[in-house]
């Protein structure tokens, strides 16, 4: 009897567009700084990275119920990934701003050159904090024991790959629009393939896990957000850009746009289909029909007697 109680599944209603936007911006922005460093891209991408991270921070402030005291968000570094993330964002903004500032005429009084020790230290601080910003949103979500679909390292992996692809998308847009940066990277097609494989494995494992995780996969692929998932994430975000990278290397802007749309919708879909473990919690094996009520056998006997009386009266 407990099974029907335990079958009640409810989707989380707390987070939607705003948090998806924050996940998208923080992942893309932080990874853009890492991509800038790894591939030695023009400095415009580092500036873009800083801008995107600041924008992500503003979006997160809008999500808060009491944004006026957001500064308190770094108070629990020992346990809270949100705290650690907020601190990483603050460090990244400060260090990358200082690292990039001397290039602007208004800040030319800052004396450190690109090769100086101060610049190197600032650069490394920015790199490490960008790495942390890339990792923490996925870990933050995967810590939730209440939502099995998120409570897996596969989500962290998928978020990191999506962040990397988002950063590459910005570089592709830059290559097309600003005429700066690399054209399509040789590794991009492999990362896209990895994204498809990881997303597929993630969904397959969640489907096999059953319960709330399976319900999340069902909502993702057949209900609720299935159109956003199949058209936005799979077709626009995975298949089309992969085909473009392989077959039409000149379409950098379109490839970049597709990846950005797919990356954003991936976060949105994952958030929207977060299904809680059933809240009406009854341990398996508890039979409510036995709770101080007349047993079914007694009731059957009573009804049989009533039926016999009715038969006699007739």
């Amino acid at each position: 009897m407990a099974q029907r109680f335990n079958a009640q599944l409810r989707r989380q209603q707390e987070w939607g567009w705003l948090l998806s936007t924050w996940l998208f911006l923080s992942g893309t922005g932080s990874c853009l700084f890492l991509v800038y460093e790894v591939f030695g891209l023009p400095v415009v991408f580092a500036r873009l990275s800083l801008g995107i991270i600041i924008l992500g921070g503003i979006v997160l402030l809008l999500e808060l119920g009491a944004p006026g005291r957001a500064w308190r968000g770094v108070s629990k570094l020992s346990t809270s990934w949100l705290s650690r993330g907020a601190l990483s964002v603050s460090i990244f903004v400060a260090s990358s701003a200082l690292y990039l500032a001397p290039a602007f005429p208004a800040f030319s009084f800052l004396s450190w050159g690109e090769a100086s020790a101060v610049a190197k230290v600032l650069e490394w601080i920015a790199i490490l904090s960008a790495l942390m910003i890339t990792l923490y949103p996925g870990i933050f979500l995967s810590q939730n024991r209440s939502i099995p679909f998120w409570n897996t390292p596969w989500l962290v992996l998928a978020m990191v790959i999506n962040a990397w692809l988002g950063a590459n998308a910005v570089v592709l847009l830059g290559a097309g629009l600003l005429k700066e940066g690399s054209t399509v990277f040789g590794s991009l097609a492999w990362v896209m393939l990895a994204n498809i494989v990881v997303t597929g494995l993630y969904l397959w494992l969640m489907e096999r896990a059953g319960g709330a995780a399976r319900e999340s996969v069902r909502l993702l692929t057949r209900e609720e957000v299935s159109r956003a998932f199949w058209v936005g994430v799979v077709l626009v975000g995975m298949i089309v850009p992969l085909a473009l990278v392989v077959g039409m290397k000149s379409a950098t802007v379109l490839t970049g746009l597709c990846l950005l749309v797919g990356g954003f919708l991936f976060r949105y879909c994952v958030l929207k289909v977060g299904v809680y473990v059933p809240s009406t919690v009854v341990q398996e094996g508890v039979d409510f029909s036995k709770l101080n009520r007349t047993s079914n056998a007694l009731l059957e006997k009573e009804y049989a007697a009533m039926a016999a009386n009715v038969g006699r009266r007739a």
């Binding site: 109680f5 009491a66 308190r72 968000g73 770094v74 933050f140 024991r145 209440s146 508890v286």
Partner: protein, 212 residues
């Protein structure tokens, strides 16, 4: 009343509630008394009774199951809080929210497997912007945009009283006491009766026991 000791570690007070599912008749007295005591916003109920029809005619019956914060020993909602607003009280195990610290990030609301945390968007009362005298008084106890939840009537407990829901239960389906006190009624009930803790497999170690 003892007020020392660390929460949930077996050495101090560990407040708990037992819910006797054989006694609960689904009257919602606990729901209403909680509402009256804490003045929660429209649509928000810190405790409520789930009602479900089971079986088939002629052997159909209704099941009742009071739901509430479980004031867990290892709560999922506390470590995710970035400000320390969600915390376990030092002198016992009560999981409380300091609304002056809460930034309304929703992390704890999502983290709680029992879905018993709420963030009201506004402080509008039941009759619109103009609050009733009762709402004027009670709504000062919480802040819109921040998390609120069952505090097991901590102010009442501190005055030596039982939580309002326990006090109001006409069938005495709800019992309250110190789970660390072997002489307390609820420990004896738990020893004598079949029972379960909700979603114990998630590792939260809830302090609400359902007696079956």
């Amino acid at each position: 009343m003892r007020t020392t000791g660390k929460s949930g570690n077996g050495s101090g007070v560990r407040w708990g509630v037992t819910v006797d599912l054989k006694r609960c008749v689904g009257c919602q007295s606990c729901t209403l008394s909680c509402k009256a005591e804490n003045g929660t916003p429209p649509g928000v109920f810190w405790t409520w009774v789930v009602e479900k029809e089971e079986g088939t005619y002629p052997f159909a019956y209704t099941m009742y199951m009071p739901m509430r914060c479980n004031h867990c020993n290892d709560p999922a909602c506390v470590p995710v809080c970035p400000t320390g607003a969600s915390h376990q009280r030092e002198q016992d195990n009560l999981v409380l929210v300091d609304q002056e610290l809460c930034i309304g990030c929703h992390s704890c609301v999502v983290a709680c497997p029992y879905q018993v945390r709420y963030i009201p968007e506004s402080d509008r009362g039941y009759y619109g912007d103009k609050k009733t005298p009762y709402e004027e008084v009670k709504y000062k106890g919480w802040e819109a945009g921040t998390t609120q939840k069952c505090n097991l009537c901590a102010p009442r407990i501190d005055r030596g009283l039982k939580p309002a829901c326990v006090q109001a239960c006409p069938t005495r389906a709800l019992s309250f006491g110190d789970l660390n006190d072997p002489e307390s009624d609820i420990v004896k009930q738990i020893d004598q009766r079949k029972h379960f803790q909700p979603r114990v497999e998630l590792g939260t170690d809830p302090n609400v026991y359902y007696l079956t």
